[in-house]
């Protein structure tokens, strides 16, 4: 059974290269990826998560307005009845900010995991597998023995 993830760039941000890579990587890893593209609103994320019964919502932000763009996001998700993991990643602060502070900010906004822009897609995939309790080794073993 494939798991569905919703992916998009939030706010007015149009940096598309990162999610293009992520879409490919998550698809290659066996996920069903709903890619909403750039400049996606909080509501569009919520609607897509509901419509596709997503296990996870992956938010990308590069342009430095992530904090403003994500305020209230988890309320919107909740009101829409979304009960999915939420990850955010990319370049999350304006300027040369301290990463620990940035991570804390987004944890407090409600995200389950916060990734910096050095993140290798494989790390995010590993994290999601862990959070969704998919053991890749088992999955692989199954594939091999099937």
């Amino acid at each position: 059974m494939t798991q569905t993830v919703v992916l998009g760039v939030i706010g007015s941000d149009a940096h598309v290269v990162g999610i293009t890579i992520l879409e490919q990587a998550f698809s290659a890893a066996g996920f069903d990826v709903i890619n909403l593209g750039v400049q996606t609103s909080q509501e569009e994320f919520a609607e897509a998560a509901v419509a596709h019964d997503a296990e996870a919502v992956l938010v990308s932000s590069l342009y430095g307005h992530a904090e403003q763009d994500c305020r209230g996001f988890h309320d919107v998700l909740e009101s829409a009845g979304v009960d999915a993991l939420t990850y955010i990643g990319g370049n999350l602060a304006v300027g040369q900010d301290d990463w620990e502070r940035t991570r804390e900010t987004f944890r407090e906004l409600g995200f389950d995991r916060v990734f910096d822009s050095e993140t290798d897609p494989e790390d995010a995939i590993a994290a999601l597998r862990q959070d969704l309790q998919i053991t890749p080794t088992e999955a692989e073993r199954l594939t091999i023995s099937s």
């Binding site: 598309v16 750039v38 430095g64 370049n91």
Partner: protein
């Protein structure tokens, strides 16, 4: 249906008034008074003149912070400590979205808290007088740099505010920057911007216009970038622009970059009307940077070296902190000085590299294919041709976030590191050229012992930030 025709004066006036009604600061614009203001500026603040008369590449950084005093200080610093020849004012994202109210709030927060709550300078909210304060306070020409699909009000205010150069264009500030605006709409918006620049030009105030050459900054094949520059140049010329700086973003292969800059200049001279003064701008690598300042300095060094060989009129520099976020002013100035040192050490040397002419010819042939497709489809009208070519994917931009481009073209590097096209989509290109690209890419695929695939593209996207030019398969080592 919108066409490539000059906006009549009365229509110009009508739009101008409507646009200026969008936000209170629009009221302060008075064209006649603004012309007089520009005339009062000293020669060394006249952007077009300074750029066009320079005998070595001028350097310009990117920089924008929300508060006026901070922006003044920042630019003065980049001018002095960074030895920048030309200065920028980068506009914040809300203003680019025409969300002037949000920009106003951000500016207020910035003023109250001292924090940079916006990622740029909200020029519309600073208004004509704020802009002029900036122009007067700094001692070099200043350009507005942004990424705004609908930049009409921004243009009206910043032109009246004393800025004499304005980046962007209907394609280059749409396709890479947004998914919210149709191409017809942005062309119409930019016809106004160019017409306004033309109106100043007619009155002797030559506003320099600079289409944004790097597009998505990510492995853009030179001919695609050049075709977009020529189209935007033609559209601007129709509206009366007479100082045009065509742009190109470094791909990292020296031969291809030098060839592309030559092709850009030559085709610019050829395609644009004689009365337009054409200059070129080279952007240091616009794709993903290494997450390490030392390595980033290497990327910048290669950019400076390329500029020294190609001799564009202007170079937009990167900072060693590009990966991380908006750079500190020190890092920004450091990027300028690193570039300056490399250029100044290399520019007096005769460095003629084999193969540049051949590559230039290939790029020119490709560009002509694309331009022909535009002219044919438009029956001679560039606007119609552009709309139809993008609609059909005959013109396309890789990694486009916009639905206005098919986004079907996928680039990859060949075995020498030159950017070629792996997936053509519906791009209007001769079969012979497609074969040349195909051969080069299969040569690389053979060398790497793998298929041509999206994996290769993804590897190339990451390569420079991971320390290499070409995204070779990891397990096979360096060679």
């Amino acid at each position: 249906m919108i066409r490539d025709e000059r906006i009549p004066s009365d229509e110009l006036r009508r739009i101008d008034e409507a646009v200026r009604d969008d936000w209170p600061t629009g009221d302060d614009v008075d064209f006649e008074e603004a012309v007089a203001y520009h005339e009062s500026l000293p020669a060394h603040k006249r952007f077009a003149d300074v750029l066009e008369s320079a005998d070595a590449p001028l350097l310009q950084p990117r920089a924008g912070v929300p508060r006026l005093e901070d922006q003044i200080e920042l630019l003065a610093y980049l001018h002095e400590a960074g030895e920048a020849d030309l200065l920028p004012t980068t506009i914040d994202s809300y203003t680019r979205d025409n969300a002037y109210e949000k920009a106003r709030e951000g500016l207020e927060t910035a003023r109250e808290t001292g924090e940079d709550a916006l990622n740029g300078f909200p020029a519309v909210n600073h208004g004509v007088s704020g802009c002029r304060e900036l122009i007067e306070a700094v001692d070099a020409p200043v350009e507005v740099r942004h990424g705004t699909p609908d930049a009409r009000l921004l243009a009206a205010i910043t032109f009246a505010g004393g800025f004499q150069s304005f980046e962007g264009g209907p394609i280059s500030y749409n396709i890479p920057y947004t998914n919210r605006h149709g191409l017809a709409e942005t062309i119409e918006n930019w016809q106004f911007v160019d017409r306004l620049a033309g109106a100043y030009t007619e009155r002797g105030v030559r506003i320099n216009r600079e289409p944004f050459g790097p597009l998505t900054g990510t492995l853009v094949p030179p001919s695609i970038a050049i075709a977009v520059m020529l189209i935007e140049g033609l559209l601007a010329a129709t509206q009366g622009v007479r100082s045009l700086t065509l742009g190109y973003g470094q791909v990292g292969n020296v031969v291809q970059d030098v060839a592309a800059l030559r092709a850009l200049r030559e085709l610019g001279e050829e395609y644009l009307p004689d009365e337009v003064v054409v200059t070129t701008v080279f952007h240091e690598w616009m794709g993903g940077f290494p997450p390490d300042e030392a390595r980033a300095n290497g990327v910048i060094g290669l950019g400076g070296m390329t500029a020294a060989i190609a001799r564009p009129d202007k170079v937009i520099t990167k900072s060693p902190q590009e990966f991380q976020g908006v750079p500190t002013r020190e890092a920004n100035a450091a990027g300028l000085r690193t570039t300056r040192q490399v250029i100044d050490m290399a520019i007096e040397q005769a460095i003629d590299i084999d193969g540049v002419e051949e590559e230039r010819e290939l790029i020119e042939r490709e560009t002509r294919c694309l331009m022909d497709a535009v002219f044919d489809r438009g029956d001679g009208d560039v606007v119609r041709g552009t709309l139809e070519a993008f609609d059909a994917g005959a013109l396309d931009v890789p990694f486009s976030p916009s639905d206005s481009a098919e986004g079907a073209v996928l680039p990859a590097r060949d075995d020498d590191g030159r950017v070629r096209i792996l997936e053509w989509g519906d791009l209007a290109m001769d079969d012979e050229i497609k074969e040349i690209h195909g051969a080069r890419l299969s040569q690389r695929a053979d060398a790497e012992g793998r298929d041509q695939s999206f994996r290769m593209v993804a590897d190339d996207v990451d390569a420079i930030s991971e320390g290499k030019l070409i995204g070779r398969p990891r397990d096979r080592g360096d060679a």
